[in-house]
Symmetry: C2
Subunit: 199 residues, 2 copies
Amino acid sequence: MAQAPPADKRRLILDAAIRVFARQGFHATRVSDIADEAGVAYGLVYHYFSSKDEVLNELFIERWSLLLAAIEEADKTAVSPREKLGAVATFIFESYRHDPELMKVIIVEVTRAANSFGRTHLEEIRRAYESIAKIVADGQASGDFRGDVAPMFASMSFYGAIEQLLSGWIFGTIPASDADFDQARDLLVTTICDGLEPR
Amino acid sequence: MAQAPPADKRRLILDAAIRVFARQGFHATRVSDIADEAGVAYGLVYHYFSSKDEVLNELFIERWSLLLAAIEEADKTAVSPREKLGAVATFIFESYRHDPELMKVIIVEVTRAANSFGRTHLEEIRRAYESIAKIVADGQASGDFRGDVAPMFASMSFYGAIEQLLSGWIFGTIPASDADFDQARDLLVTTICDGLEPR
DNA sequence: CTGCCGATTGACTGGTCAATCAATGGAGGT
DNA sequence: ACCTCCATTGATTGACCAGTCAATCGGCAG
């Protein structure tokens, strides 16, 4: 018997968790909140996940691996370093535009929660910085970028700037219209790349 | 009887809290940890502060007002926008060099925990962004900076880049020697300002 | 029809802490 | 000596919640 819609409860729980985590924050949500939001019994969460932490874990890994892949892809596909960084920035901004709640959870609860939760994922997070640093280093080797900037510094500044802008949208510090997204991405890439060019 | 050292217990508790928060993170520290670290009875913490939150609150406000003052000062004192931004970056980096534990707490537990806790302080945090944005806007008016970058975007990128570098040091993602601090500050300011200049 | 097994349920337990509060101490004033 | 005031103490309480588990459900194979 093909259960047409197996009503994938696991997925249901993950999606509910995104909403609840985004709304209340990880610490403030009880496992029962997730279960309620998913319309599922309390215990079922523990059937699919070993702990509340693992739910967040899963969400992070799922998403972060996409980012890592996107950076690799940008590095392989695009030609100039400027285009590569542009592609990376675009991917991140688009991720936010496409699913703001998930991105909010990733950023607020993991990336920036380097104490509590992100501790566990420092390694994966660092891998992203390093991939971006590689793009910068290649740009320096080809003469597109000046050589006196440590690639890792440039990478972290670049990523930090992006994350700060996303945070601004997440918390309503700065307005978030479609035009703003595009403008922000263009300006960010232009400014940083211009700053990285040889004088 | 002049109690030569009034052994300001309130201060003692605050300083102890910095150490414990930095070591374990806000959520993981129990009020008794703070009391133990300060060598003081549990209840005394509640004599001076109405809650565990208020301890963190106090630390943040104390420090953030210094940052706001430093930005104002930089805006008044320095001449070129580049020097102004340089002074701001210097102040933040020096704050970290001078008291890494406090800065770790401020950044990790408040600025970046904009959900749970920082919510309360969004307004103060925003004020810092706006002051920096003003520096950028003035730089545009004087023709030092290009006019097509929204000052608030530039400000948040600038601050985000700084914060990310600090986080790198805090979590050991990037090495932290005195030379690194100075190099990072110079490169950051140079890169960002070059990127903000008219082409 | 029957038995098996994984999915699903939700009441319950155990442990953790934030916050309270009644008691104690000791400095200064009268 | 005595009193008042406030700092200080730390045991206790009350709430909260993650994680457990025994019971039930329901599809399917034999």
